[in-house]
């Protein structure tokens, strides 16, 4: 069934297929005339059977037969015996169609339909399946149907698991069998069936089993897929957890609308706010639903918990997100106010797989509002950011300057580890690590290296709560670098992995993070305070991550990387200045996360690849005027601005319309011509400066 080369048709084959087509056409014409006239006589039904025997893919014919069956079953003279014989006829037709092509969707579906009528013996189905699965053990249609049959006849998962095992023993290169195994095990674990009470028991045995396949033939992919599933089962915590927040627990939030050049404030917690409000961000370990004023209580003098609206920060507009945000409002007068946020005290927060948030956590912080006199005449003039090297002073070089950074540990929420639960996970992972190190000592194996990299990272992040160290990140980075060389066709994938590990490493400790923090100082002193800029430039990043440690970032320099996507950046709700200069962004749709960043004022996307590629695959993943998500937002009156048809720039329009940018740099991209710039100016009335030119 597999790995058979296609042969060029011989002349006689072509003649035969022409004859077949001729016959088929005649049959089809006749069939359609019966179908349209709703003729369900014996002769007519037999004709459809003949048609299906030649062409099992004829969906209309299957549907016609369904109608015919319904018609006959609804006749008053139809008794159970004749119903059975009608349905048995159907099964025969399906069987002969399947013999013609056992990958026919229509035929398998029709069989399901007939069986679910409940008149036919289901035991026979297993026998039929055995035959088909012997002929082609990987045929996923048959496996699909098998799951249906097993469920219909209440065959136990244990029996099916045994069958799956037998199939694997016959030939372990069987994705379908491994897949079915994962499905069955999930069900059994969920049910807590006997012998399947906990992952702790089941998963180590499964690891042992899959090792046999992987070590026997590391070139076979099916085993690796199953291993990846096991790894996921091992690493993935069932119940969702809050892993970080902004403001962090125990922090003092300084709300100032102008800079005091006062370094007494921690850069991680000082915030300029001109709106009198600031965001509270909850960052979970997995997407959750149900974050609302009833599941999260916020106790503060000025805000009533029940008035707060929590919004999911997800690009896809789904109701599940890892990051949720609400905004607290404060008066502009000087005040000091404690705030306490508690999550999970009442039920309602659930993971997408239906697990409850069961670990209640509380964090509190203090808010200080310190209004200063506005000096508007000076301020607005120089309020632009120049992403120039001389404007940044690395903290490391200014040893005399003490940086009152809030205790780094407070950036993430410590969930007391449940030792008994996670012990086996750590143990399983370290066993796997040992195992694959051994495999790699024997042979060079790309997927083995990738798996080891994944295992090491999983191990580090699992033991992170205890040691707070990334012991293996250097090794992992080396593995990814190796892989990029070994397997150039998947370079991008390894690069992404490399980038994420690198960012994890950067954010793993206060010391390492500080190395990337710079003080921004403007050429005009004292007009703007010196914000902390996280400078992750020139790291050849292709992806960004580790956002849970970066929720405090207001100024971020990602220039001179290889970013094609900024997925996840929407979590940085405080971000006001962002440089994406000199990256590999190919379209405005890649900037979609920016739409959620309401505080963003300064954006540099110059020297990217926007507009260079006529085909943009990310476009189809994003909201567009064609999807319902945006359809309602799209104002018909906005279709033309000036003499430019907006429809040509809908992607740019959707991004920039929602941003309140003051400063934008876009030069050096193919799209940035004068016409486009004029459109931008019209879309964004707030814009003060475009490509370094002040706008009148």
């Amino acid at each position: 069934m597999h790995g058979r080369p296609r042969k060029a048709p011989k002349p006689e084959d072509e003649a035969a297929s022409a004859a077949k087509a001729q016959k088929l056409r005649a049959l089809q014409t006749q069939f359609f005339s019966y179908h349209h006239n709703k003729i369900y006589t014996k002769e007519a039904v037999e004709l459809s059977a003949k048609l299906l025997e030649i062409n099992p893919e004829s969906y209309t014919a299957w549907n016609y037969r369904k109608l015919a069956v319904e018609h006959h079953l609804s006749q008053p003279e139809c008794d159970p015996d004749s119903a059975k014989s009608i349905l048995d006829d159907e099964l025969r037709v399906v069987e002969s169609a399947l013999r013609q092509n056992f990958k026919s969707y229509g035929a398998w579906h029709h069989r399901k339909w007939v069986i679910s009528k409940g008149h036919s013996s289901i035991d026979n189905e297993l026998r039929l399946l055995d035959k088909f699965q012997k002929a082609d053990s990987r045929n996923f249609h048959a496996w699909n149907y098998r799951r249906f049959v097993a469920e219909s006849m209440n065959r136990s998962e244990q029996d099916e698991l045994k069958y799956t095992e037998d199939m694997i023993y016959t030939n372990f290169s069987n994705y379908s069998a491994w897949h079915n195994r994962s499905v069955l095990l999930s069900t059994l674990l969920e049910k807590k069936a006997e012998g399947f009470l906990s992952k702790e028991k089941v998963l180590p045995e499964e690891y042992e089993f899959i090792h046999q396949a992987i070590f026997t033939d590391p070139d076979d992919q099916s085993g690796w897929f199953y291993h990846l599933w096991l790894l996921d089962q091992t690493v993935k915590a069932d119940s969702p957890l809050l892993i970080s927040s902004w403001p962090a627990h125990g922090s003092d939030v300084q709300l100032v609308d102008r800079c005091h050049n006062d370094s007494a404030f921690s850069p991680f917690t000082t915030l300029h706010s001109d709106s009198g409000s600031f965001p509270v961000v909850l960052y979970f370990n997995q997407p959750v639903e149900g974050v609302s004023s009833s599941t999260v209580t916020v106790e503060s003098e000025f805000n009533k918990s029940e008035d707060l609206v929590w919004n999911p920060l997800s690009v896809s507009n789904s109701q599940a997100a890892k990051v949720w945000v609400t905004h607290l409002k404060f008066p502009t007068s000087e005040l000091h106010c404690p705030v306490e946020v508690s999550v999970g005290h009442s039920k309602g927060i659930t993971s997408t797989r239906g697990f409850q948030y069961s670990f209640s956590s509380v964090f509190s912080f203090k808010v200080h509002v310190q209004p200063t006199k506005k000096d508007s005449s000076q301020g607005s003039v120089a309020e632009s950011i120049l992403w120039r090297e001389e404007n940044f002073k690395a903290y490391g070089t200014q040893s005399e300057e003490s940086i009152p950074i809030l205790s780094f540990d407070q950036l993430s929420i410590r969930n007391d580890p449940e030792p008994t639960v996670s012990d086996w996970r750590v143990e399983a992972l370290s066993k796997e690590i040992e195992c694959f190190r051994e495999l790699l000592s024997l042979m060079d194996c790309k997927i083995g290296k990738l798996t080891l990299a994944r295992l090491l990272m999983a191990y580090d992040s699992m033991s992170l709560s205890c040691t707070n160290k990334l012991d293996h990140s250097d090794e992992v980075l080396e593995l990814y670098s190796d892989l990029m060389k070994l397997d150039p066709s998947h370079h991008q994938c390894y690069k992404d992995g490399h980038s994420l590990v690198l960012l994890k490493q950067v954010t793993s400790s206060r010391e390492s993070l500080l190395k990337y923090c710079s003080k921004y100082t403007d050429s005009v002193p004292l007009t703007i305070c010196s914000p902390i800029c996280l400078r992750l430039n020139n790291l050849s990043l292709s992806r960004v991550g580790a956002f849970e440690k970066l929720l405090w970032v207001q100024m971020l320099d990602l220039s001179h990387n290889e970013l094609q996507s900024i997925e996840g950046l929407e979590a940085l709700q405080l971000l006001s200045s962002l440089s994406l200069r000199n990256n590999k962004l190919r379209s405005f749709t890649a900037l979609d996360p920016l739409r959620k960043l309401k505080s963003l004022r300064v954006l540099d996307i110059s020297y990217n690849h926007i507009g260079e590629h006529s085909i943009d695959t990310t476009r189809y993943l994003c909201a567009s005027p064609l999807s319902h998500l945006v359809g309602s937002e799209w104002n018909k009156d906005e279709t033309v601005i000036g003499d430019v048809a907006l429809i040509n720039y809908w992607d740019a329009f959707l991004i920039f319309k929602e941003l309140n940018l003051k400063q934008l740099d876009i030069m050096g991209s193919a799209i940035a011509d004068e016409k486009f710039k004029s459109v931008l100016v019209k879309i964004m009335p707030t814009l003060k400066q475009l490509d370094g030119e002040r706008l009148g």
Binding site: Y169, T170, F172, F215
Partner: protein, 569 residues
């Protein structure tokens, strides 16, 4: 044999070819010659097909082996030297078996079922699904008379009676419980290397230098651990001698040949969709194979006469050329060519006046030079050596049973589902190469003592030796004491199956002779028939240099199709 009815005369009296003996090589040549439109007369002094390749009942087995265990001058030809046109030389037989030792520990039980046994005389033997004999059966059409079943597994044995599964395929390596993960990886990588080499894949070519070096050196170079080396050498490529001790190794396998063997083994797995592994065995025993070729020959016009001893060779008086044979019935039959089975020799009469060249051409008692023999042993048990399995092969590599064990010992257990014995019984075949009878006996006894409980019988050896001399009727040792002690016990002692019956014998090796008169080879010490078939094809081409050996017929030609044999699962 004197009580047999009188022989009817054979008509016609002249043939292209006369074949005496219905062993496998003789039967193949007869079928091939008939296929090449030769007229063939196929004779056998025995009442059954197969000669030294036959499968016999418990009663026929001892009598046949006994009859082949001592030299005999054939009974003087009935009409001695009356025909003046010919020189008449009387055939005599040479002993092909020695040290025959048959013990029946349970005559009561076995005698009632004696006819239900099909005991292979040349066991243990199996087929690789992709070996030459299978191809030959398909090509010749003999396969239509045969049915096969899979051998369930191959094991390596040790002196403690443990049987270690041989992971011989990808699926078996995956399933194996005794190999470590690293060993699984190494073994599979080696298999892949070989496959890649054979498929001519880029970058996996095994160098010429390696190909001509000893296979064991190559295995060492690949870093394979001893356990895996044993699997490959002894259980897959089936070498006879220890490969790393130059002193005792008489047959060092070259990498090239090792790889050929591996490829054959590998091609065998999965060749037939319902064969489980690489090995299959014919239902009703190996004797079926000879019979299938005979049937094939008969279909093509070969004339068969069994129970027909041949007494003498007829030579042209003037030039000493072969003319024909004289049958025990006294009839003279003439042919252009003659093939005789290896038991026949032609002793030269004293003071012979034969032309000189002829003396050198006659098949005298010239056996194979190195005097290597095959020790064969057969046991019948009521319990399988492996509780959950009935048909399997066990290999004991050299030195695995005792330090002086020089050669591999192979044991094949076949159960009643292959119709070789009554239900719930098993037949065990053991063989190994040996230098002399004592060594052979030691080998056979050590295997039996490792795996079986052999009832204490009072000097069964000497007894049976006496018995076998007179075992005309096929009756064998009946030792009342042994039997009663056996029945008093449970079927197994110390968890080992008990031997109900055993036969030990040493078989001479002959490689056949292609001369003035052709004689066929005896069963060799191998598990499969490949070498025998090579010799047979060679023999055929010697006598018919211009004929094709089973030419492809247009009817049986199915392009791209492998053909099929009937395999029961």
């Amino acid at each position: 044999m004197s009580d047999l009815p009188p022989y009817p005369p054979i008509d016609p009296t002249t043939f292209d070819l006369i074949v005496i003996g219905t062993g496998l090589p003789e039967s193949i040549v007869a079928a091939a010659a008939c296929t090449a439109s030769k007229s063939v007369l196929h004779l056998d002094p025995n009442p059954f097909y197969g000669s030294h390749f036959s499968s016999l009942s418990l009663t026929d087995f001892p009598s046949f082996l006994t009859s082949q265990s001592h030299a005999s001058a054939s009974s003087p030809s009935p009409h001695s030297n009356t025909h003046h046109d010919f020189t008449v030389l009387d055939f005599s037989t040479r002993p092909l078996y020695s040290s025959l030792d048959i013990s029946n520990f349970s005559p009561h039980l076995l005698n009632q079922h004696a006819r239900k046994f099909n005991i292979d005389v040349a066991g243990p033997r199996v087929f690789y699904c992709a070996d030459k004999s299978i191809d030959l059966m398909l090509k010749s059409g003999a396969s239509q008379y045969l049915e096969f079943k899979s051998i369930d597994a191959t094991f390596l044995g040790d002196d403690k009676g443990n049987l270690l599964t041989v992971p011989d395929s990808r699926a078996a390596i995956f399933k194996d419980k005794s190999l470590g993960l690293m060993e699984k990886n190494q073994l599979m990588r080696f298999f892949k290397l070989v496959q890649g080499h054979l498929a001519g894949e880029e970058g996996v070519k095994i160098s010429e230098e390696d190909l001509h070096s000893p296979f064991v050196d190559f295995l060492n170079k690949m870093g394979l651990p001893p356990k895996i080396k044993s699997f490959i050498l002894f259980a897959i490529t089936m070498v006879d001698y220890h490969q790393e001790d130059v002193g005792v190794c008489r047959d060092l396998l070259k990498t090239k040949d090792g790889i050929y063997q591996l490829a054959l083994y590998n091609a065998s797995i999965g060749r037939f969709s319902n064969a489980l592994g690489a090995l299959i065995y014919p239902v009703y025993g190996q004797g079926e194979l000879s019979q299938a070729f005979c049937r094939r020959a008969a279909v093509k016009g070969c004339l068969y006469v069994l129970r027909m001893p041949v007494t003498s060779l007829l030579l042209d008086k003037d030039n000493g050329c072969y003319k024909g044979v004289r049958l025990a019935s006294g009839q003279d039959i003439f042919s252009k060519k003659l093939i005789i089975d290896p038991s026949f020799t032609v002793p030269l009469p004293v003071g012979s006046s034969l032309p000189h060249p002829l003396q050198e051409k006659l098949p005298l008692s010239s056996l194979k030079d190195d005097r290597v023999k095959v020790a064969r042993g057969i046991c019948i048990t009521k319990a399988s050596l492996k509780p959950d399995m009935s048909n399997f092969l066990v290999v004991y590599p050299p030195r695995s049973l005792f330090p002086e064990q020089v050669t591999s010992i192979r044991l094949l257990q076949i159960g009643s589902n292959l119709a070789v014995c009554p239900p719930d019984m098993f037949v065990l075949y053991i063989s190994a190469l040996c230098d002399d009878d004592d060594q052979g006996k030691k080998i056979l006894h050590s295997v039996m003592n490792t795996l079986l409980t052999v009832p204490d019988s009072i000097d069964s050896e000497s007894n049976s030796a006496v018995q076998s001399e007179t075992a005309e009727s096929g009756s064998v040792l009946q030792n009342e004491n042994a039997e009663s002690s056996f029945t008093a016990q449970s079927n197994t002692r110390e968890g080992k199956p008990t031997s109900l019956w055993s036969a030990l014998y040493m078989q001479e090796l002959t490689s056949g002779q292609v001369e003035f008169i052709c004689s066929t080879p005896m069963p060799d010490g191998k598990l499969i028939y490949n070498d025998l078939i090579d010799l047979t094809v060679k023999l055929f081409h010697e006598i018919y240099p211009d004929e094709e050996f089973f030419p492809k017929t247009s009817t049986s030609e199915n392009s791209g199709d492998d053909g099929d044999i009937s395999l029961e699962t």
